[in-house]
């Protein structure tokens, strides 16, 4: 065996010794995804590299172990090196199953005392391919056209199944169980509702006002129903998810926190996002295991300081522009006429091309990095730059191909999400047990199944 250079745990993850737990988790995620990328590109890093990363994370992620390590590191005695050497050997035993994705992982239950400290990470893999999905998508669309849209519910189930079943965590696939007939009923209802709304808009201002207020109260209800539908019809390892959020919670979320966001011109947005993600994660169950979301409002303000500052600078920039133009006298007026539409365009571009993707990436990372499902954690390593590259390229190609690039775009997005996600300690998921209500036939709540609206948080 070649001599493995023994590096410091912090150096192995590219961290400073004062790194926070948050930074350690994301550095670990990054290192893992780099390893996976090299592996899938056919240019693997040496297996010892993986061992080093995992040993580093194992030590640094547990507060007591980290404190001990820091203590040992201070006088630079050979003790630290010895600990690392043993950790490396221990980890290398588990490494092959991870690196090659062996179909049968060592069955490690939660009752295994070692599992509490043996933090392994599972690769998240998306096996879909653009060309393959293109065929499925073409047949879906053609059948929907021929049946005047009726097949679209069945098409949706095929699409969901394709993306769920190709999404593989720790050698097990997700699955989707939506019933196309229920989806069809939901879609017809939705079309009728939207038709009534736009009719109300044209008929009478009072009718429109009443309809708008009704819609405001109906939206959270539809949202909760749709979350329930999605969760109930998603399974992993044969266990269904469940969403237990209530209408009242959703109403408070959107009317109070959403309202505050509007009133404060977006300054409250990070707090609103935190409430939104907490509602999403804290009310999700995998079988009987609840999810918990641990990030506070401060983390969202920290993560979103760049877009927030940009947003705050915007009115200042407009004021400076108007001030400068009015100082110029009559010539400034003409300048304003040219500049105002231009700056509106600029704001729209800034919003849709930078701020919204930025908020989405930060939100996704915060959601995953602070969600815990039993003993299982996640690491999300999306970056604004890479996400923007992907999304903008997708937009352009879809427009250039008159929409026919769509299936490739969807697959690339799913691949990107999988590449930037790792599941830490997935073995702990094995301890989940199906919840009572998740037994499909026992409840048979048709009303819930009829409301699938694709509303995403």
């Amino acid at each position: 065996m070649s001599a493995t250079p023994i590096t410091c745990h912090y150096t192995a993850l590219g961290l400073r010794p004062e790194a926070t737990a948050e930074e350690i988790a994301s550095a670990y995620g990054r290192a893992m995804s780099r390893f996976k990328r090299r592996l899938s590109a056919g240019d693997p890093l040496p297996a010892e590299h993986l061992d080093t990363i995992r040993a580093a994370y194992r030590t640094l992620s547990v507060a007591s172990a980290r404190a001990a390590y820091d203590e040992a590191r201070r006088p630079a005695t050979p003790l630290g090196a010895a600990t690392e050497a043993t950790a490396t050997t221990a980890a290398s035993a588990a490494a092959p199953s991870m690196a090659t994705g062996a179909p049968i992982a060592p069955a490690k239950g939660a009752n295994d005392p070692a599992s509490e400290f043996d933090t392994s990470a599972a690769s998240v893999e998306f096996r879909g391919e653009g060309r393959e999905y293109l065929r499925i998508w073409l047949v879906n669309v053609a059948l929907s056209v021929v049946t005047l849209g009726i097949y679209s519910a069945w098409a949706k189930v095929r699409r969901e199944k394709y993306f769920h079943r190709n999404f593989i965590v720790d050698a097990a696939a997700f699955d989707y169980h939506g019933d196309p007939r229920a989806i069809l009923v939901g879609r017809i209802l939705l079309v009728v509702l939207l038709g009534l709304m736009s009719l109300a808009e044209n008929i009478d201002p009072t009718v429109h006002l009443i309809a708008s207020v009704a819609a405001m109260f109906a939206f959270p209800w539809l949202l909760v129903r749709s979350m329930q539908f999605r969760a109930r019809n998603t399974s992993y390892r044969g266990i269904r998810f469940a969403f237990v959020g209530t209408y009242r919670e959703a109403l408070v979320l959107y009317l109070v926190h959403g309202g505050l966001t509007t009133i404060t011109f977006g300054l409250y947005l990070p707090a609103f996002l935190q409430k939104q993600k907490a509602f999403l994660a804290n009310r999700l169950r995998f079988g009987d295991s609840p999810c918990t979301f641990e990030a506070g409002v401060a983390a969202f303000y920290r993560g979103l300081k760049v877009p927030l500052v940009l947003w705050l600078l915007l009115p200042v920039a407009v004021l400076v522009l108007v001030g400068a133009a009015s100082a110029l006298g009559p010539a400034g007026g003409i300048l304003l006429i040219v500049l105002i539409p231009l700056s509106i365009l600029l704001v729209v571009l800034l919003l849709s091309l930078l701020l919204i993707p930025y908020i989405r990436v930060v939100g996704t990372n915060l959601l995953w990095n602070h969600t815990r499902l039993g003993e299982t954690r996640f690491a999300s390593t999306q970056t604004v730059r890479s996400y923007l590259n992907l999304v903008v390229a997708n937009w352009l190609l879809v427009l250039l191909t008159l929409g026919f690039y769509w299936p490739f775009a969807q697959v690339r997005l799913a691949q990107y999400r999988a590449r930037n996600l790792s599941v830490i300690n997935p073995e702990a998921l094995a301890s989940a047990v199906a919840a009572q209500q998740a037994v499909p036939a026992a409840l048979g709540d048709e009303a819930i199944d009829a409301f699938d609206f694709d509303i995403a948080l």
Binding site: R127, G128, A142, A172, G238, L399, A430
Partner: protein, 336 residues
């Protein structure tokens, strides 16, 4: 012998099992259990590329199989075939056929299906509903881009009188003329679905003679008679709905632009129909279609004849004038 992961549906525990078919039943052989399920009771999910295959057992337990070759063999043993849609999805020929169906469907829907449906549907909208709609649109236009007319009342009266005597007949759509001015719109006239006609000051200034203005009013009544604005509203709603679903969340701007492009194709047909209505009416009530032709020429000149055929909502004026001449001789001579 096929290896698989077995999940019992009650716990997320993973159990390695072996699968095979014997005596018309699926045998599931695990380390600590054996199951024997009649083939008629199992559900085999359709293949989705490289994704693991999945067999669902009647009690909610499932087997996930990564070995696609082995699975094929198992299904052959069990004599379970593939569904029609799966066979369609597998081959490029069928994908190509699907592509052709999509394109044909979109083209024929756009050129024939949608106009035919909208044309049939538009006259069915009750007059009360379209009158309300019309009033709402007029109110919105008044607050946004229209100002009160600055024409002298005598001029307005003269225009109204001529229209009342020549264009008010039984069997014709109900109409009311509203005079307005606008800094944003050029010389133009608009017909709203409930029978409200808006004439802009710039148009009156440009056309000068009352005959020519009357010809344009006749053209706008033609739009009313054919229910064009209601038809266009229906078409516009359907086109933008289809585009929005097709392009998904790409960008509303792209949808709006392409919607505008696609709808200008519809308004060309509408202009032609309104021209024909006006030409016939002018032949019946007045001297002939000459004022309409002159009005079109003046409008063309004021626009500078710019805009390609695809982008402009009015078709090439020369084409339109030729068509008007064919429908009704321009016999009469315009009064000065």
């Amino acid at each position: 012998m096929l290896t698989a992961h077995y999940y019992d549906g009650r716990s997320a525990q993973r159990n390695p099992v072996r699968l095979y078919v014997r005596d018309g039943a699926l045998q599931v052989e695990g380390e600590s259990f054996n199951r024997n399920i009649p083939l008629g009771d199992i559900v085999v999910d359709e293949p989705l590329g490289n994704a693991p295959r999945c067999i669902t057992l009647p009690d909610g337990a499932r087997c996930e199989v990564d070995d696609h070759e082995g699975m094929k063999q198992l299904l052959a043993d069990a004599k379970i075939g593939e569904t029609l849609v799966v066979r369609l999805q597998k081959r490029w020929q069928w994908a190509l056929a699907a592509f052709c169906i999509i394109v044909t469907g979109a083209v024929s829907g756009y050129f024939w299906g949608l106009p035919a449906v909208a044309k049939a549907l538009a006259p069915q909208i009750p007059q009360a509903a379209s009158a309300r709609l019309s009033a709402a649109v007029l109110a919105r236009l008044d607050t946004q881009i229209l100002q009160p007319s600055r024409l002298p009342p005598a001029r307005q009266q003269a225009i109204l009188r001529l229209a009342e005597t020549t264009l008010r007949e039984p069997g014709m759509p109900v109409w009311r003329i509203h005079f307005r001015s606008s800094t944003k719109l050029g010389p133009n006239a608009l017909a709203l679905p409930g029978g409200d006609l808006i004439i802009l000051d710039k148009l009156v200034t440009l056309l000068e003679s009352e005959d020519r203005i009357n010809a344009v009013v006749a053209h706008e009544i033609g739009h009313l008679a054919h229910h064009h604005s209601m038809q266009q509203m229906i078409q516009g709603a359907v086109v933008s709905l289809v585009l929005a679903t097709w392009f998904g969340d790409i960008s509303s701007a792209a949808v709006a632009i392409s919607g505008q492009l696609l709808q200008s194709g519809y308004s060309r047909d509408a202009e032609r129909e309104a021209d024909r209505f006006a030409a016939r009416q002018l032949l019946r009530c007045c001297a002939g279609s000459q004022p309409l032709i002159e009005a079109l020429e003046r409008l063309e000149k004021s626009e500078g004849g710019s805009g390609s055929a695809l982008l402009s909502s009015h078709p090439e004026t020369v084409e339109r004038i030729a068509a008007i001449r064919a429908w009704a001789p321009p016999a009469g001579i315009a009064r000065p």
